[in-house]
Amino acid sequence: MKTVLSMPTHQISVLLKYCLSQEKDPLLTHALTQHGILSPLHIAIYKETPLLIDGFKRLYWAQQQNMTKVPACTHPCQTPKELFQLIHALKSKQIQNPIIQALLLQTLGREHSPLLTQETHPLSSNTQNLETSSQKKSYFHNLKKLSQLSPNILHFCREKKFSFTHCKKIITFKKSTLEQLIALNPQLQWTASNFILAASYIEQSKQHTVSITDELKDILTNNPQLASQNKRLQNAFLEKLKMNAKPTLHYYHKEIKRQIHALNLPKNIDLIWDKSLETHALTLQIHTHKKNMLSDTLNSVNTTQLTKIDRLLDML
């Protein structure tokens, strides 16, 4: 059911805020200037909030003209599913864009979004090659993960911001996962390439201590063009990484491991530490399977080693 009415422009929330097009479309602008808004905007009333679904350019033009009201078709939507179906019906082309999907996810709620849990969505046709339900589940899981991250990447690119947390997430993506996603949905190529780019910049930044996985290195080697696609993007990443260069958790773990290795402790002794580094404690674990092995092991640890273990505690 839909109603056509004159809706105050200030009440309209833009669902996909990055879609509110400010690009100049001379033909559309000419038509609007000559005739005004002829076809109404489409607005979903979702949880009492009017969300603009279709008519971003028209709304932008109306705002520029200081128009207080615009003609609008309203579509009451009670559930995220109904909202999604409406978006799908009106914006079938745009919805193929993974960035739009990610924005939708943010709007609809990640946990309950029908976008990635229902097989009715536009990407489901890509899953025909996946034979088992677990494969499909895994595909949707990874797609969701990538989609959640991609707006952040975009945002940080635009704002020249980048965080280690995001870097960490990026490097946890395996080559196989990315390849599967790209194979099933070629439109993800661009998003995935951003992840790969980011990983390469982390690698390039000498001050940074995170290293990318070998698998990702392979991707970079095989796709050298990706690394030089966008100079501005590269510079933004590098600048941010250099600015933010601080030792990471990974670095501290590596350093602790290195120092433990340098202690030359007997092989049946393990030193264990809290991986979050929050607890100021080292646990000494001795593995014994023979009589008298415990006392022999303890006797074999000399005072210098004990002093060094003590110093190691300063890192925690």
């Binding site: 200030h10 009440q11 929330s13 009492e48 909030t49 009017p50 943010q106 952040n152 945002h155 704002e159 911001k161 965080s163 280690f164 947390t165 960490k168 600015m243 933010n244 601080k246 030792p247 990471t248 958790l249 501290y252 979050s276 580094l277 929050e278 607890t279 100021h280 890192m315 925690l316």
Partner: protein, 367 residues
Amino acid sequence: MTESKKIKEKDTLPIQSSSDTLQKKDLRIGKKSIQFVAKKGQAFDTCSAKGDDYICCNVKVLKTVSNCPYECSYCFLQDYLSNTQLQVTKDIPALVKEVTDYLEKNPHAFIRVGTWELGDSLALENQTGQAGKLIKEFAKIPRAILELKTKSDCVDRILPLNHKGKTVVSWSMNSEEICQKEEYKTASLTKRLTAAKRCQEAGYKIGLHFEPLMLYQNWQQGYNNMIDAIFAEIRPETIAWISMGSLRFNPKMRLSMQSLYPKSKALENEMVTGPDGKMRYLKPLRKELYTHIYKKLCRTLQVAHLGPHHAQSPSQPMLYLCMERWDMFEHVFGSSPESTEELENLFTQSLFNRFPDLNTNQSNNQN
């Protein structure tokens, strides 16, 4: 009809005109009007930050407000409050009774009571006068000191009051960069310091909370400038206490921070989850942050030591860490209180030694 409209008109004050917005659950909507409410349930409690793994100052809290007109990107309220309407409890006698009841049951206790648990103590003072009423009440209560913590400069109404030295007006202090970029709508560092100086001149004790300390580009210079600015205005002998605490938040808050404050730098650094479930900067980085500020404070105040065990002379205010473990105290100050109880005891000793009027007030009231 919305919940706020059900309240009598005189009980609801608009802070700013707001257009009808439909996102009712948005935290920001609740900030636009004040609702005066009766006290519901227990308002007096121990600070919720207290935990077994951490050395805490054991400050008591009196929940007099809920929600805050300011918008700090890191504020835990954005994830914590189920009712986001800005509320002020109007029943002052009932609030005070909870404090006096506690003191009756604990005849040897000396307590610090803060009203900042769920909001800013002074931000709404011009509209509500609530803090002024509490100041007058605490002037009469033995063995208790009131702490009003704020990021505002709303002190006009409390300056002429007869507080009898029983109120500490505290400021959350941060570098100018963080005040501007992360603490939206709050008073600037300069304005906070001007307000603090006026309170100092009115005889109030001053509290400083360097929280949340954040890592950003040139943070060292930013915090050095902050400390220089503070001690150009405030005399150390009027400072009751100084706390330091780094940025920390519930992991669930990440999403709301990202969506409400996308330009915030609060999420830019790597963080780990501690035993209390809160995310913090990596411990070695926190050590660096605290040690830098500690050394700068020692240099500025021209003292060799600061910290819980070195807070007995006028030039050495009580300096402590908020929500950190004993080993962090030891690293920064060279020694650590054995327990929360010891830190609380050191607090009281420091206050009595540095502000003898507090001890005299207590004895007089007991007699």
